[in-house]
């Protein structure tokens, strides 16, 4: 028998406790041993919870109880869970967490602390999809060329709705909040930060790269407008908020932003609240993983998979996928050096000379245009919709700045990166 202590008994913690009981037969058959949810630590004992396990407010009833084998950390936050998890590991307890923020900031310290003790975190990325498992174990023969992940269900729900219904960002955000898919303050989700935390975890497993969220390019979906959505549809793109990791030479790109993705790519087909992660390996080619990225039961499915792994084999694969360093340590590519294709929308004065001026700014900045379309607007204005060939982020940023301050471009240009 293995005894589990759950720290934080909210939606996911409740599911963990209940599934261990509901699915006891299949879990025992697969793990070879009964796994018992022994106790849950909560901050408020009066709150009604749908669990039958013993609850306490005293964390020492988990950390200092020698009979507890596995600590499941589901409290959220960064520094407090870090201290708690550290104590659990020091006390020889295996740890399972779903806490992506904890890992985004402390994964390498935790790897040190957990060198002899199991520490698992499948649920921290893309909820119920076993993507850590796939990337760390299933694709281990490959140099990973790139990862593209839809890892935030709130954003994907909103973008899918915007595309399908032609609705505005504000309308759909309100709807997502009413449905409980978005928080009252939605910034963490729509701003791309949640995706960034998950991306850094995948980046470590793919490339062994240690960076913090503050170091990478993060842009959210707040500025996607209806006209960009229309363009996307017309040119057979979907719009997705992607976390992207890519190896170019010895540098690693890590970035989160909205992307125009051609409709025939598998990742473009992941709609609604669902998550999907596409991984391209140098030998296996593209593989894609799809499923529920959030929700109590789906997330608990991943947490319990980790518990079963620990029951089966104790300390399994190296926490972040590498047993040791071989070859040169890759470095993070500077944001300005990223190369990709871009979609731009420029609201311009509809008069002679405008196009020449715009074209000159692109030419001066080494930007080559792939497609261009002009759509007239009212009052002698027009929208210029452009896509570029591959160019450098720093050049496009400079061109946008020059365009914005030129007399022919009337409002701040809109820009969405294209990955195809």
């Amino acid at each position: 028998m293995l005894k589990v202590g759950i720290i934080g008994v909210g939606t996911v913690g409740t599911s963990v406790a209940n599934i261990l009981i509901d699915n006891k037969n299949i879990i025992t058959a697969r793990a070879g041993v009964e796994i018992v949810p022994h106790i849950g630590v909560v901050s408020n004992l009066d709150k009604k919870r749908d669990v039958s396990i013993k609850l306490t407010t005293d964390i020492n009833e988990v950390l200092e109880d020698d009979s507890i084998d596995i600590v499941v950390e589901l409290m959220g936050g960064i520094e407090k869970p870090y201290e708690i998890v550290k104590r659990a590991l020091e006390n020889g307890k295996a740890v399972v967490t779903a806490n992506k923020a904890l890992l985004a900031y402390h994964r390498y310290e935790l790897q040190e602390l957990a060198s002899d003790t199991p520490f698992e975190f499948e649920a921290a990325v893309a909820g119920g999809i076993p993507i850590i498992n796939a990337l760390r174990d299933g694709l281990s023969a490959n140099n990973i060329k790139s990862i593209q992940g839809i890892m935030n269900g709130t954003c994907n729900f909103m973008l899918t709705k915007m595309i399908n219904e032609g609705a505005s960002y504000d309308q759909i955000l309100k709807e997502a909040q009413e449905l409980g898919y978005a928080e009252a303050d939605p910034t963490f989700d729509v701003g791309g930060f949640d995706t960034a935390h998950k991306l850094l975890i995948l980046g470590s497993i793919a490339y062994g790269i240690d960076v913090k969220p503050e170091e990478i390019l993060i842009e959210g979906i707040q500025n996607i407008s209806k006209i960009d959505i229309e363009f996307a549809k017309e040119f057979e793109y979907n719009i997705k908020l992607l976390g992207i990791a890519k190896k170019v030479g010895n540098e690693i790109e890590l970035r989160v932003h909205p992307v125009l993705v051609p409709l025939d790519k598998m990742i473009a087909k992941v709609d609604g609240v669902m998550n999907g992660v596409s991984v391209v390996g140098d030998k296996v080619g593209e593989t894609m993983y799809y499923g529920a990225g959030a929700g109590g039961d789906a997330t608990a499915s991943a947490v319990i998979a980790n518990i079963i792994d620990i029951a089966r084999r104790g300390k399994g694969s190296p926490m972040l996928g590498f047993e040791k360093q071989v070859g040169t340590q890759p470095t993070l590519m500077a944001k300005d050096d990223i190369k990709t294709k871009y979609y731009l929308r420029l609201e311009v004065a509809d008069k002679s000379g405008t196009l020449a001026k715009v074209a000159k700014i692109f030419g001066d900045n080494d930007i080559s245009i792939e497609n261009m379309m002009q759509k007239s607007l009212k009052r002698e204005k027009a929208n210029l919709l452009l896509t570029t060939h591959t160019c450098v982020e720093k050049d496009i940023k400079k061109a946008i700045d020059e365009l914005e301050h030129s007399k022919v471009v009337l409002t701040k240009p809109a820009m969405i990166r294209i990955e195809d």
Copy 2:
């Protein structure tokens, strides 16, 4: 250092040897130890092969060499590799195989033989997709409700072409043969047998059920006609050859046949030679896994992932996913008892009384019609296209038999099952 002996140095064996050399740095970093392809066993030393490892025709140079840690079996066949793998395990060597036929027939004996020794087979199902890994480890907290797998690239290539180009089975088979996607005798692929072998492996991991290919329902794609393809398009279905495993009460359905799948399902979006496996767990909901199901490098990616797993942790998860039996052992559902929805095409005499006669046969057999469409043909004939509500296989079979022998139905009715 771990030394690998490869038995069978064809396309996949060549890739295994070459990737272990090409990707030595990343593999050593992930495995923690260098993995060396030491020797390959072939039947013909004169054949030109693109490998730099030592080759021999003497299998004892692998099986009796104490310095060899891991045997990779890639020779194909059933009984001969079974004897060889058995000897390797008896000599204490870990075994990795991509041989689905071996597992379709001998997986439970092999599980006994490998109780203390690693025996892995990720590459045997869906090539480079780590589906064994996902099902055995990633989804282990779940009672598996169903699996639907596109696991034969030849069939999926052909069906995709037929749908996209409206071409006939014979035309596309010829094209697939010219492209090297189909064998001169394509029966093993197009007849569904290859898919069945893979399905039985997944069935064991999901449900612990021990059956042989001969016991399950297997139908191929040979009878899909252009008019069925047109119907599929018109009613927003895709046609896929699926391996299906499903739990109903304590019985397990295992079946392989062409399926009409609604276009909005993820599995319907897996096109061309690619493979995809959808798994529904009672807690995680639907997850889907996509990638290359064949090809030397993709298959070798899975073989080497297993080798790295063995280097990292020796004997890992239980070979077929269960450490022991808990609860009742499920049994195979009889073919006649399967319940699903059906599409039928009846070529009928276009005259009064036909419909009444057809309708009576359905009614007499407890089959309720969901949709019906009549398309006139030349010479006073018509095609009746029907879909049924969920009904029982034995009833539909009986109805088809009665229809075929009725005077109003002119040719053998076409039937395709529907899963939605």
